[in-house]
C-alpha cells in the first residue's frame, strides 16, 4: 500500500509540473463544445437534441487525446524498465498512475460539464445526470485507453494506431453515457442506464490495470 501511495504522489507531481498535459484535454473539451452552437444553430430545441451526443463525443476524444503520452516519457527516460524489473507487482504503480491521470485530466472534464451543458441549452434538471454519467464514464475511458497506450508505447508514432485500437472499445461507454443524458432530457428513467455504466466502470477498474501492466510487458520485448 505504501508503494501505491508513493507512486500516486509521484504521478501527481509529474503531471502537476507539466500543466499542458492537464490543460490540453480540458481546453479541447471546452473548445469543441463552444463551437457547436456557432456551427449548427443557437436554437434551444435543436441544440438540446444534439447536446448529449456532442458532450459525450467531445469528452471521449478529450480523454483519448490525453492518453497518447501516458507512458511515452516514462519509457524514454527508462522509468518503465525500472517499473517492470521491480519486485513489486507492476499493476500497483500502474494503478496509481491511472488514478492520478484521471484525477488531473478526467475529473476536470466532469467538473466543467454542467457549464457546457448549460451552454448547449440542456434543461437544468439533467445537469446532475450529465455529471454522473461522465463521472462513471471517464475513468472507464481512461483505463481502456491506457491499455492501448501501453501496447503502442514502443512505437514511434502510435497516435493513430492507438485510436484504431481503442475507439471500438469506447463505443459501449459512449452509447450508454450519451443514452443516459438523452433519457434524462426525454424525462425517462436513467437509473438503469447509469447502472450499466457503473458495471462497465467496475469491469475496467478491476481488470484494466492488469491488462495495462501486461501490455507494458509486451511492449518492452517479452
Amino acid at each position: 500500500m505504501s508503494v501505491f501511495r508513493a507512486a500516486l504522489v509521484r504521478e501527481l507531481l509529474v503531471l502537476w509540473r507539466s500543466p499542458a498535459e492537464i490543460i490540453n484535454p480540458l481546453f479541447f473539451f471546452v473548445m469543441v463544445i463552444s463551437l457547436f452552437p456557432l456551427a449548427i444553430s443557437p436554437k434551444p430545441e435543436l441544440l438540446a437534441l444534439v447536446a448529449p451526443g456532442v458532450l459525450w463525443v467531445a469528452a471521449l476524444l478529450a480523454v483519448m487525446l490525453s492518453l497518447d503520452g501516458l507512458f511515452r516519457r516514462d519509457q524514454e527516460s527508462g522509468v518503465l524498465e525500472l517499473l517492470l524489473t521491480a519486485p513489486v507487482m507492476a499493476v500497483v504503480p500502474v494503478s496509481a498512475k491511472l488514478l492520478a491521470h484521471w484525477l488531473l485530466t478526467g475529473l476536470p472534464l466532469v467538473l466543467i460539464s454542467p457549464v457546457l451543458a448549460h451552454m448547449l441549452q440542456l434543461p437544468d434538471g439533467v445537469l446532475g445526470t450529465v455529471m454522473l454519467s461522465l463521472l462513471l464514464g471517464t475513468p472507464a475511458l481512461t483505463i481502456i485507453g491506457a491499455i492501448g497506450a501501453a501496447l503502442t508505447v514502443g512505437l514511434n508514432r502510435g497516435g493513430i494506431l492507438l485510436a484504431v485500437l481503442v475507439l471500438p472499445l469506447y463505443i459501449p461507454v459512449l452509447i450508454f453515457g450519451a443514452g443516459a443524458v438523452s433519457a434524462a432530457v426525454d424525462g425517462g428513467a436513467v437509473n438503469g442506464i447509469l447502472a450499466i455504466l457503473g458495471a462497465l466502470l467496475a469491469l475496467t477498474v478491476s481488470l484494466g490495470p492488469l491488462a495495462v501492466a501486461a501490455g507494458l510487458k509486451i511492449s518492452s520485448g517479452n
Binding site: S2, V3, A6, A7, R10, L13, V14, R17, S18, R73, D74, E76, S77, G78, V79, E81, L82, L83, L84, T85, A86, P87, V88, P93, S220, G221, N222
Partner: protein, 217 residues
Amino acid sequence: MSQPSTHSDAETAPRLVLEQLSCERDDRLLFSGLSLTASAGEIWQITGANGAGKTTLLRILVGLHGFYQGVCQWWQPQWQQELLYLGHQPGVREELNPLENLRYACALSEQGGDPMAALAAVGLQGFEDVPAAHLSAGQKRRIALARLWLEHKAVWVLDEPYTAIDQDGVAALDQQIQQAAQAGALVIYTSHHQVGDGVRQLHLAHGQAEVTEGGQP
C-alpha cells in the same frame, strides 16, 4: 571483508546459470552458445563493440527481453526481490528533483535506507531539490547510481554505469562495486572501461561469447 576460509556456502553458491544462450535480433546473431555460471561475490564485466548485444544480454537476464533460446536460470524463484537493475537510460524524470526521483525508485524496488545520505554519497549534496531538467547528464546518471548506496540487494545488473561519470565518480563507483561483491553480491555490468582486478570478463564479438580471466568457459 570476509576471509576466504570463512566464506559460507551462501556466498559462493551459484546465483545465475546460463546454458547455450543465444539471441538473434533483426536476422543478426548477437551471440550463441553462451554458457556460464556466476556465483555470489563475483564481479562480471561484459565487453564488446557497439551493437554487440551487451544491453540485450542484460535485458534477457533481468527478464525484459523474452526472445532468446537456451536457459537463463536464477538461483531462486523470487530473484526479482533481490535484483537491482540499472538500465541503459537512468530512469530519471526531468520534472522531479533528485530526491523525488530516488524516493520513487526506492518505493518500487522496496529498498530501505536514507535517500539523502545516498545522494550525498554520489556528490549531489545541495542539489536535492533542483529539478532534474536543470542537471547535467552525469548528475542525472548519479541520481540513478545513488541506489547502489542504499540497502543492498544480492544481484546488481548495471548497464553502462560509468557513462558520463567523472574520474572521482568512477573511483567511488568502483569501490562501491568491490564492497558489494565482498559482502556477497553478484555484480554484472557492461562497460568499455579497463577491467579491474578480480573481475571476470565476458566478451561478445561476431556472434560468439568468450569468457576470460578466471571464469569457467
